[in-house]
Amino acid sequence: MIELSDVSKSFTLHNQGGARIEVMSGASLSVGPGECVSLTGASGAGKSTLMRLIYGNYLAASGQIIVGGVDVASARPREILRMRRETLGYVSQFLRVVPRVPTLDVVAEPLLALGRPLDEARDRATHLLAMLNIPRRLWSLSPTTFSGGEQQRVNIARGFAHDYPAFLLDESTASLDVANRDVVLGLIEAAKARGAAIVGIFHDADARARVCDREVDVTAFSPTASGTAA
């Protein structure tokens, strides 16, 4: 479902003397349906960079990144947009929304973007918000004013609104209380059970033990480790 082969990434800082920084090389990874892979490695090792490359948020310097048949590394913008709409869900650490939009609509939006009827999208949003213990009285308010923990749970609800065939989860269980962490792990297990491929960053060892099938240490993809930096 998610196949990376020999992916490299560098940044060229044109306004800082044209410095070229190699941050990743030779990254390869294969995640099949129903599988959950945890990315590990010290802070700064490139876990988030790898996730951003898979999502098409960062432009790969070389290599292939196939997600559901689309090569993110070379696809045109609208192919990536469709891939994001239909195939690959991304639960980031931060909620980024248009201010003033009610929470219920924020969560329903990914389904509306797929052309689902409003009723169905709202039903699903209602279900997820209730599951994640967001008080009903907040649903008609914009999440921009919510606490950090509430925003995180709204973001998770939004990320799981559509049954994507693949997911990127960036510390989705971090800093949640036990009950809510359990709900999120349940969502991840359900996604796996229906065949979703998942790549995630899980700092919480218990969570990792419960949902992850294997770990990949991204330190192996650092240019210095592999010695292939140009």
């Binding site: 940044f11 060229t12 800082l13 044109h14 306004n15 951003r52 098409g56 948020n57 960062y58 432009l59 913008p77 609208r78 990536i80 947009l81 980024r96 929304v97 248009v98 201010p99 003033r100 939009v101 509306l112 973007a113």
Partner: protein
């Protein structure tokens, strides 16, 4: 899928000065593309060339018309182009007063565009005007008031209603949220996003506000000195800019 708009090598000079040079891109149905760059970068010149408000020196602007399929709008007859401007195209000006008839009531502003496409039934026109005021969140009781009596944000929303009432497929927007309070901007962004989704509208949005394009545009084109220096997915261009100018632009903003 046929692109809604195919732009090829559009150039415009003002004497020896370059307005915009060799701009090419495709826009597909339902896509929103942002055009950013500092003042003088040519983004408004480009928008005006594409929308038929300026005549480019060269190039093609091929629009997928409902009746005849893809047609180069630059070689179209003037009446045909004017008809497009009233039906399938919308143009939202930065200053609402440039796009509104200030001496005509709010309802009249919306109804005028319907009459221009042949609607004559007063009840239906008023019905649609009321419906659109509602959609852009203007109190229906204000239908007979002139836009002069409206706030800046309301005028901008009225301009959008006037433009979208005929169900256009492509909207050209020149700094649509410029000069508005931040809270009003947010409301307008929400409104535009909803309309894009519900009507399948495509849009080209010229702005210098990177936060606006991040929330509104799927794709982004960065212009400098009349040329496109970088284009791609909006979040990719903003988070991983490749060109020196884009890097400067992004790093100069306080948290886009």
């Amino acid at each position: 899928m046929t692109p809604l708009l195919q732009v090829r090598n559009v150039s415009k000079r003002y004497g020896s000065r370059i307005g915009c040079a060799e701009v090419s891109f495709d826009l597909y149905p339902g896509e929103v593309m942002g055009i950013v760059g500092e003042s003088g970068s040519g983004k408004s010149t480009l928008l005006n060339c594409l929308a038929g408000k300026l005549t480019p020196d060269g190039g093609q602007v091929v629009f997928d018309t409902r009746m005849d399929g893809p047609v180069d709008t630059l070689t179209m007859s003037e009446p045909q182009r004017r008809m497009l401007g009233r039906t399938d195209w919308a143009f939202v000006h930065q200053h609402a007063r440039d796009g509104l008839r200030m001496g005509v009531s709010a309802g009249g502003n919306i109804g005028e565009r319907l009459m221009a496409v042949g609607e004559r039934h007063y009840g239906r026109i008023r019905g649609q005007a009321t419906d659109w005021l509602d959609r852009v969140e203007i109190d229906q009781a204000r239908i007979d008031d002139r836009p002069e009596a409206f706030s800046g944000g309301m005028q901008q929303r009225l301009q959008i209603a006037r433009n979208l009432v005929t169900g256009p497929r492509l909207a050209f927007m020149d700094e649509p949220t410029g000069g508005l309070d931040v809270s009003v901007q947010a409301r307008l962004l929400d409104l535009l996003r909803g309309l894009v989704r519900e009507m399948g509208l495509s849009a080209l949005i010229v702005t210098h506000d990177l936060a606006v394009v991040r929330l509104l545009a799927d794709r982004l084109m960065v212009m400098k000195d009349g040329r496109v220096v970088e284009a791609g997915l909006t979040d990719q261009v903003l988070d991983d800019p490749q060109h020196a100018y884009t890097q400067l632009l992004v790093s100069s903003v306080l948290q886009a």
